[in-house]
């Protein structure tokens, strides 16, 4: 699949926004139960503004993916069938509720109202991220994506981005809690690493369809494309296939592992072991994770092979399968 930058941008901005809010609000929530976890007001406000700005930037960025931005509101119409519609609804609601929550927090509204809004925002945030993940995970025609691992990784990615982001805040404003966020960062990075690893390993095991299946033709012999009906590219060959990306993939995937997981994990563990819960660690951890995630999401797209590419001969070669029930072409025999 051709990696659309606008969507990758949305993944990361929404990821940080929702992840950050998730942790910050969770600390607020814990404080209801008598724990002294709530961040200082200034930190909360910074985090809320950051989340708001990011989700707004994400939405603006994502709108560049759309042909008709002004009609985007129509995306609510198919809530009952479309994950994209749900994503739009939930992410929109999330942003709106987040704004209300920030307002209520800023104006010191009643705790009930604050937390009512907070919980709703949190739920919407998660529903939004789940919907986003499901857009990809539910696509049967990109077998690499069509897996619960896509969802797991994606939800975890929000936490993986949110944890170090919150870590930065705590390190500055509430150092007592920073250790926990180094720990959480380590946890979600490790989970992310394993989900991604399984995601990659799975690619070797999933049954890829063949051209024979795509054409469903009664031949059990090798088939090749000899003419695609146009010698230049068309929408289908550019949207679902990215030649340059495929060439770069063998470099990009290891690099994304290094940047997203290896370096941040190393730094996190180093900071944890040496008990140095400092900004000079957590800031680069966040930086690497974010930068790495951009690359990782890029790989996610390029790794996806859409089955329509079979018709163009640009699907990974799978040979051909001798399938039961396939027979030679029927012969009409005329006797003379």
């Amino acid at each position: 699949m051709h990696p659309p930058f606008s969507l990758i941008w949305f993944f990361i901005t929404a990821g940080i926004s929702i992840g950050l809010f998730n942790f910050v609000y969770f600390l607020e929530l814990l404080s209801l139960f008598g724990k002294n976890t709530a961040l200082p007001r200034q930190a909360v406000l910074i985090s809320l503004v950051t989340s708001l700005v990011l989700i707004a930037l994400g939405a603006i960025g994502a709108s560049f993916h759309l042909g008709h931005k002004l009609r985007a509101w129509k995306a609510i119409k198919r809530f009952h069938t479309s994950w994209l519609s749900r994503e739009a609804v939930f992410s929109g609601t999330y942003g709106f509720l987040l704004f209300l929550y920030a307002l209520s927090y800023y104006s010191n509204q009643s705790l009930f109202l604050q937390h009512l809004l907070g919980i709703l925002t949190l739920i919407n945030g998660w529903l939004s991220s789940f919907s986003t993940a499901m857009i990809y995970a539910s696509n049967k025609f990109v077998p690499e994506w069509n897996s619960s691992l896509t969802v797991l990784y994606y939800l975890n990615m929000y936490l993986m981005l949110g944890a170090p982001a919150t870590g930065v805040l705590t390190t500055i404003f509430y150092p007592q809690l920073s250790g926990e966020f180094f720990f959480l960062t380590a946890l979600f990075l490790s989970l992310g690493f394993f989900f991604r690893l399984f995601f990659n390993i799975r690619q070797f095991t999933i049954p890829h369809p063949t051209l024979n299946e795509a054409l469903n033709l009664p031949h059990n012999r090798p088939m090749r494309v000899i003419d695609t009906g146009s010698t230049t590219n068309n929408y289908c060959t550019t949207e679902f296939y990215y030649q340059r990306g495929k060439e770069l993939l063998s470099t990009a995937v290891p690099l994304s592992y290094i940047i997203t997981f290896l370096i941040p994990t190393f730094l996190t563990f180093y900071a944890l072991i040496s008990s140095r819960h400092e900004l000079i660690f957590i800031a680069p951890i966040l930086g690497f994770t974010v930068a790495g995630s951009f690359l990782e999401r890029w790989c996610f797209f390029v790794e996806g092979n859409h089955v329509q590419n079979l018709y163009y001969g640009i699907y990974p070669p799978q040979g051909y399968s001798l399938r039961k029930g396939y027979t030679e072409p029927k012969k009409t025999v005329i006797r003379y």
């Binding site: 699949m1 993916h65 759309l66 042909g67 008709h68 931005k69 009609r71 985007a72 129509k74 995306a75 609510i76 119409k77 198919r78 069938t81 479309s82 994950w83 994209l84 519609s85 857009i135 696509n139 049967k140 025609f141 369809p209 299946e213 795509a214 054409l215 469903n216 033709l217 009664p218 031949h219 012999r221 090798p222 088939m223 090749r224 494309v225 000899i226 003419d227 695609t228 009906g229 146009s230 230049t232 590219n233 068309n234 929408y235 289908c236 949207e239 679902f240 859409h306 089955v307 329509q308 018709y311 163009y312 072409p329 029927k330 012969k331 009409t332 025999v333 005329i334 006797r335 003379y336």
Partner: protein
């Protein structure tokens, strides 16, 4: 009712007539224009509803070749419809045609991602998704003579390889053809249940009755004898 095309691979010679006539009709009609980018330059790239691919099967000298005209298959369980966030991509109740309402399309391209056949094309100029309409603007146009109320590709096909009709009506030509000729669909196991069907290649073979062949033509033998051929 499910309107659909049935394409006979036993006569399709891959001439692209259906593709260009489709383009010709649709660029000027209700769903047009169909943009062509860089038309005279290095990478001309246009929007087409219908494309023809050619495949070879087997190895020389036992090579088979076939052409596959591919346009929207108007799937009965069209995966492109539920994913559309706005409902712009929809399947008509009354005749099963899958259409895109340009006014509602936001150009998110998700429907094309959800089509295993690559039968939707995004028009970068109009910023909306486009696809075969089964010439809905022909088949219901009462100003056309009844015999012309068919998709342009069907009318133009020089190999008469394209048929149009209701595949759910047991009395229709297309229904009968699918049954009689073992019509099949593309990617049968994707759960899409395509409405467009293809009719497979068949080979005509001739079995000769050997004993009507007079084994040795006396004239042939005479010529051999006269010219001392073959010892």
């Amino acid at each position: 009712m499910q309107l659909a095309l049935v394409i006979d691979l036993n006569t399709c010679v891959g001439c692209h007539a259906c593709a260009t006539n489709c383009k010709e009709w649709n660029t000027q009609a209700s769903f047009g224009p169909l943009s062509d980018f860089d038309p005279y330059g290095k990478e001309p790239q246009g929007v087409w509803y219908n494309r023809i691919m050619t495949y070879e099967v087997g190895e020389f000298p036992h090579t088979q070749v076939f052409h596959l005209p591919k346009s929207c298959l108007h799937c009965q369980d069209a995966p492109c419809v539920p994913v559309c966030p706005t409902g712009a991509s929809y399947k008509r109740e009354q005749d099963g045609i899958v259409l895109v309402n340009y006014d509602d399309c936001i150009g998110c391209k998700l429907c094309s991602w959800s089509c295993p056949y690559g039968c939707r094309e995004f028009d970068e100029a109009d910023k909306v998704m486009k696809k075969c309409t089964l010439c809905i603007d022909r088949i219901y146009d009462e100003s056309l003579p009844p015999e012309h109320r068919k998709p342009a590709c069907v009318l133009t096909c020089p190999a008469k390889a394209r048929f149009f009709g209701d595949i759910e009506d047991p009395n229709s030509e297309v229904y009968q053809m699918i049954k009689r000729r073992n019509g099949f669909v593309l990617f049968s196991d994707m759960g899409t249940n395509p409405a467009n069907h293809y009719l497979p290649r068949t080979e005509t073979d001739i079995k000769l009755d050997e004993h009507i062949l007079e084994h040795e033509n006396p004239l042939f033998l005479e010529v051999m004898r006269r010219h001392h051929v073959g010892g």
